[in-house]
Symmetry: C2
Subunit: 369 residues, 2 copies
Amino acid sequence: MKIVTNKAVFNRPLYLESGRLLESYEIMYETYGEMNADKSNIIIITHALTGSHHAAGFYEGDRKPGYWDALIGDGKAIDTLKYFVVATNNIGSCFGSTGPMSLDKNGKPYRFKFPILTISDIVKAQKSLWDKLGIGHVKAIVGGSMGGMQALCYAIEYPDFADIVIPLATTAYTRPWAIAFNKVTMEAIRNDPEFKDGYYDSKDIKENGLKGLAVGRMAGHISYLSSGSMNEKFGRKYVAQDGLYELFGRFEVESYLEYNGYNFPHNFDPLSYLYIIKTINIFDAARGSDKLEDVLGRIKSKLHLISFSGDMLFFPSEMEEIKIVMDKIGNSDKCTYDMIESDYGHDAFLVEVEKFEDKIIQMLEGKYE
Amino acid sequence: MKIVTNKAVFNRPLYLESGRLLESYEIMYETYGEMNADKSNIIIITHALTGSHHAAGFYEGDRKPGYWDALIGDGKAIDTLKYFVVATNNIGSCFGSTGPMSLDKNGKPYRFKFPILTISDIVKAQKSLWDKLGIGHVKAIVGGSMGGMQALCYAIEYPDFADIVIPLATTAYTRPWAIAFNKVTMEAIRNDPEFKDGYYDSKDIKENGLKGLAVGRMAGHISYLSSGSMNEKFGRKYVAQDGLYELFGRFEVESYLEYNGYNFPHNFDPLSYLYIIKTINIFDAARGSDKLEDVLGRIKSKLHLISFSGDMLFFPSEMEEIKIVMDKIGNSDKCTYDMIESDYGHDAFLVEVEKFEDKIIQMLEGKYE
């Protein structure tokens, strides 16, 4: 698989939904495979909260591939022998695209001067990249979780852009349940003295971590799993060297959360995290309209919705609602809805690819009804 | 309703499951109504994580009554005109019973020298109180959540003690899902510099709060509610004076969590909280036996299990499992199981009393099959 990683620079402002603007911005992106002559084989991948432009394949020396390597690659469901796959790092994130710790025109990190971004803003920035790359139309857009919000946003706001849109494990508007999990993270970060009210030194955080972000990430991990998958993964197994009657003795699920929580801040910027969860919280596909009916009525792409029965973050009923509204407004022929049986939880869209890859293949071939 | 609040002092050791002992201990307790001549009208109430001996009625000047006032009182389901109701504050807690911030024999707070307690230890301490009060047998034991663990423990470990045992919204052994929520709290507390590694000044915490405990409590609140009840309670309502495009602008669910989270540490001791969640984490009704079958086989009381369909902390399937095992071992006649339809979440056992109070009345009258 041919992987190309690149950065695009935009020296003109991006006008944002909030009324503010980003004076200039950069977008990291990665491509897999080759674009065909008539540009009819392009698939866009949109990423979730902590994802990046690195969706598939291995970088030299890495032990772990891109986050959706199970789905994307030569001979895989999103077949890079056949399709030209492109993935960007969202603006606001911390993997090379412009975010809150990028330098402003005075050469200092934006920090709190960075504007709040919406899903629409992120997609708008991506659109300027597609323009630059001469991509005026794509075959498909595929994304899960926050990536699914972007996919949905493409379908609504750029109805002629994609033939096929496949949002997974997502929602049309973020509910208080998901916002509450994000709130725990937000408060945990803000309360950490090492966060220094946002005026931390990035190098310090990378080296020493940030306990507040770690604790918040642990709360996040609960929402990415499920009661069932935790039972299966950990049960009541206790860490062998810990005592059952020690106050800080640990069950294995605790050790898992510690490991994943405390490692995370070495690789992710806290302000980026705050900005991205804000973007998720305020996502509402129907904003600016009276109701979901109105915005879903604009869709021209074929919309394939995939939820997971055990998703404890964006519950299946939230995606089913989109299908119900599509049916109600006479768009049944443009929309399919599937709930994949899975006990894994929200992260099933990343982890249990084998359960839905056949559907993706058919969807991309235009054979799924 | 006649309310009597009292403290019992025990100047002999309590031998604990861990092999350690409490050299002496005190238990706060409260009674409602009058014990009848043949002591046949006694009902014990066992409390949840942050409950206390104050289960019902108003203290002078208080705006809020005891935590289960909807259920307990003159003419209510647990009718104090008819029954003599007794409630204790669990040892390990911070409302007058001996806990980690109580003074040891050297006149200093135990802090980490306080031993880990199990549900069995807490029940054992209560039993010594019943002995002191001349109560050798009771009509019923009723408790929800951690109180339900205690009720179940009474049924298993003291089979001749109660005619009727009614555990609500609980489990026979704590699953990793609940342990994970507690882990977030535990780490948030430990990481807070004001916790001072456990060597805080109680007065400071009461006055200033403890942000780590507040954040942990927010995570707890998520598990006490449900996606559905949050949708109903808050929807996507935004705090009027906050801006949608302000990083720390708040949805109402966030404001709710802030209010409840940050107020909490003014009224609850952090070390007590750590010790109690540890007790919950290590609860396993089958410990010491090979399987649940063995311990449930000891039960002689009539066991009425009540779960709530929307409970996101202890899922209905966890209580149903107890019923399934009871049936399997030929104890069907001793056990009923009801799942109350409720979208509220775990706290339904406190908040939606009207949905199950009729059942409780029948259960206490021995008329529920």
